[in-house]
Amino acid sequence: MIHGYKATQVVSRLNFDIQLTPEKKLYCFIGENGVGKTVMLETMARSLLYMHTVFRTTRPEKKHSGTFFNEKINNAIKDYLLHLPASIEVNQQTIKPAGSGWGIVSLNTIQNYSVPLECDHPVIFIGAKERGYLSNLQSRQFHMLGDAFERWLQVFQKSYNSMYGESTDHGQIAEWFIQRIAINPNFVLDATVRLEETITVLEIMQELEPTLRLLQTDEQGNRRLSLAYHEGNLLFDGVPIEKLPTGFISIIRILQEIISAYGAWGGNGSHLNKIAGIVFIDEIEAHLHIKWQYKILSLLKEFFPNTTFYITTHSPLILSNLEHHEGYRLTRSKDDVTATPIDDIEGYFFTDLVNTYFEVNPITAPLSKQKQERQRVARKALLELQGTIEIAQKECVDE
């Protein structure tokens, strides 16, 4: 996993020198707008694709090697371009040397570049754009569940597009659920495995919000999903999926994208959450209710114990749940961006986080005109109240 990342002349000519404490499962980045948080996540993720075994020849010791050379996959994405920094260093290893003279590579030519450090883990990128919205199938026919290569292609394209700031739902999430709940286990050999993917998403959602009734178990131990397909639409507990609250949709998208990707990268049914993947999430708090912001990180870490998360946030609540050296503050000096670890964040009070890391301080901020007027009236009332109310002498200190 990445614990040291240096990249020069990234988009907007930024240079990143990001040093992280190794062996953490979560790295969370904060920083002012424009510091380069999203750009950093996107560039890191694209660098991992450049280092990936998927695009290199098949070797038995590398689980994902050679996937790219499947005909269906190759035809679909061979000409996709990867925009890279001028130089890349990961964990003190030079991945792309300075002066290499190029910044764009097609996926088809990645195999020509040897790198000292390869990535052999699923890489998933979940962008912030339009995360609170999705569309239903709107009566169009859904496609039958594709084979393993088609499923991999779909999740790869989704992550790839997100690394370029594009949102590509177009009913894909609704279709993903329907494909899995509508299959007949008598005909489809791995139907149970695919259904488990759906159940895993619902389980985490229910853990996050116990009042949801998405998954119920009867006395015999049979599980019942509160999902239904009706007249071309997917219903969640009777509500069309696109009509759900944006916070709910945002969570569905995060969980569905991780689980669907793990399923497509070769994960197995009920053990999907145990996969050692790398997940990037931009602005994790987008659309989330405060209560969910408070719980989301611990839940993700608990449910995906082998996943390494790289996330960005503007939320002090998200920050308040981090552990020592899971949080990093990005700062920019001219074009150079560095990360400073946040020490012992567990000892901080919420006010401290807001004051220190988001530089919001209501005590020193000027009062609004309305508040100034209320203050004037209150102070006048206090002056008039003098001597009219009984009050005990302070018992301890004075006199």
Partner: protein, 145 residues
Amino acid sequence: MSNTGYFVDTNVIIDFIKKTDTKAVNELKQLLMQDDVPLAINRIVFMEILRAIPKSEDGKFSSMEKILLESFRLVDIDHDMVARSVELNRLGRAQAITLKKENECGWLDYIHYATAEKYGFQMISNDKDMEKIKELAAQHPWLQV
């Protein structure tokens, strides 16, 4: 640190309400008449004042609460203030400096002092112990990052 306003200690507000004539009370009175001067209390001062109002004054209690909240800026006690007040209290004991009723609630003066110090507020207090804390603090300046 620049002086951005005033921190008002509990004893001054209580004396003010009782209409006791002291230098600090007169200073507070003057400041209350100026609309643009930031006056701050922390949650402990807020609590100390309200708990001193007897049940017989229930009719005026809620308006008092509102008046305090709108007249003063209510400061939260944060990690920096706790660390600083603990530091000063320990330094004080090491130098045999003790406050009045320190083991009851006298120690709270360290918190009040640290609150004022953090924001650069000038302290308004009738309490002589504040001078002792001020001297201690001058000997051991707070190195805020």
